[in-house]
Symmetry: C2
Amino acid sequence: MIQATGAAKVQAAGGFRALSFDAGAPLQLSSGETIAPLTVAFETYGALNAERSNAVLVCHALGGDQFVASPNPITGRPAWWPRIVGPGLPIDTNRLFVICSNVVGGAMGSTGPSSPASDGKPHGLRLPPITIADMVRAQAMLVEALGIESLFLVIGPGMGGMQALNWASAYPRRVFACASVAASARQSAQNIALAELGRQAIMADPDWRNGAYMAHNVRPLKGANIARTAMRITDLAADEVRTRAQGFSNQEQFKIALDGGAPAAYIDRFDANSFLYLSRAMDRFDLARDFGGRLSNAFQDASTRYGVFAFKDDWRYPPQDSREIAHALIGAGADASYVEIPSGGGHDACFREEPQFEAALTGFVDAAAAARGLALQGGTL
Amino acid sequence: MIQATGAAKVQAAGGFRALSFDAGAPLQLSSGETIAPLTVAFETYGALNAERSNAVLVCHALGGDQFVASPNPITGRPAWWPRIVGPGLPIDTNRLFVICSNVVGGAMGSTGPSSPASDGKPHGLRLPPITIADMVRAQAMLVEALGIESLFLVIGPGMGGMQALNWASAYPRRVFACASVAASARQSAQNIALAELGRQAIMADPDWRNGAYMAHNVRPLKGANIARTAMRITDLAADEVRTRAQGFSNQEQFKIALDGGAPAAYIDRFDANSFLYLSRAMDRFDLARDFGGRLSNAFQDASTRYGVFAFKDDWRYPPQDSREIAHALIGAGADASYVEIPSGGGHDACFREEPQFEAALTGFVDAAAAARGLALQGGTL
């Protein structure tokens, strides 16, 4: 059972389990503003050991939520990392205590544009801008409220990898190991451009209603579909994009070439305003910026162990992005491994069955667990 | 004065000067279908010499038209290549005869989705799919009708460069020199993806009316604006995209970061259905595909002289694309020059003031003119 300390209390937010922080514990934002009260919705898997040394924070991607290893009870979406987090899996919940929280700015119970403000109406666009560092600060409040001083591992794919890197940079003493999966220390111009198109499409949708669609009981589905396609494009491998688009059919020449349209389940869980906030947070992410433009300076404390995982034909976060992280870590004198998986699945590969990734991640986690003095798989905690 | 031969006659089409080809001279399309009658709107600059050896065909880009060196009389848009084509410029109209035609599928007088079909209504989506090769075949009909057996030079930027390469490949004996400017022999997955987003945005606009917006006297301006931004993004240099997007303002956080919105003049001349057709033509372009996937096989006749011009930070058609063309030409034993301009202006640089590009192009054109036996600049023809 989860118990919270300090200003936080466990409660339900929109049907999700959450910690709420009252006005005495505001979230300090990068913009200089604060959010109070703050709600952080989260899930946990496995049990915290007596030493409180086996906690893993999994950070979710732009399209993710806190349900890393179990179905989302509201949307029905299955666990998003079912081959990575669970009993006997690389992040083994038989021996590790896994926390996954919905990011600030998200739409699954944490404070975000769709959550209620003090006037009872959704924050909408009144919410201040959110950064990756803000997401991390909110997670740090959660982790602290759960009584965990030091995380065994912080890990995430895509936007989750950005958070993991930001965690290790901001709180080096509180992160034993850090794994970036198919991510980047700086959002690429290509990703910024695609996100910008998605945002424009949402804001051009008459049903967006200047962000107040909830009050009008409508949703900007057309814009959401385009934004989803913008993201979907870079989930695929470049070769797949070209193959799909070069089909030549008279009757159906302008049928959507890259996707059969978004599945209803995706659009059901897609909150347009959250997309605006989270995609802007990613656009602005540049971990080196606060360190004189030198990424290695962002990793001052060399005691954290790093695993950097890239997928060969990932077009959203190409291996070059991960190599830059690895080079910076080596430049900082950190203990860093770089693994490039020869996948054919594009960015999506990090969520799918990729035995080489699973094996490499298992090796990284097991080695870190041994160094931390945690029992090996099959042992007891 | 222009005189046409054979099945073609000079006439006005929608206010533009054009050649029309009757049913006896159909345009054979890559799809197997034909277009007849066919209208090709065009402009010319300078005078054809007695030997008919000084004709230059300039092929326009996706956002271009036939008004390469003079204002468009209908839209008022200024000449789109004012530093390249004109008296005393690299393509010197004091000694060269320049032809520029609106591509098939375009919206400036040539047969396209907005031009009238036999029932008097716009073709709309009834027009068959168009390829780059189809644009080139229509230009070949125009050039032949003008009594020109062999072009001194075929040149174009972006989509125009694709046409120039296709010209040299399809009609090697009719092209003395060929210049590809900031172009590619194969559309990249990134460009395909951005175009697909633009198409989806247009088709999601309620004012698109399934392509029949003209009949309803409306225009899909919101979709057009997004499509325009999709193109605009890669006109800029990657660094500029990132700088613009990383601005951090609370009040205006979702203001369009990459552009202040499309200028009215652009949207006035933007035809949404033409964008669908022309962008799909570019998506499908892969010059090597009909040659066993080997680009050098596309350039069989080594007598054409090639100039391949790239701009260092061009993000739409990066220098790598141009280098692949140059490598293929060298592999084919062709006389090829590759020039990479150290610009900071992204893809747009090819339309702007770039003294190094202008000097390099002048050198290429002058050398080719000397080889062709044309009078040098300042001479008489």
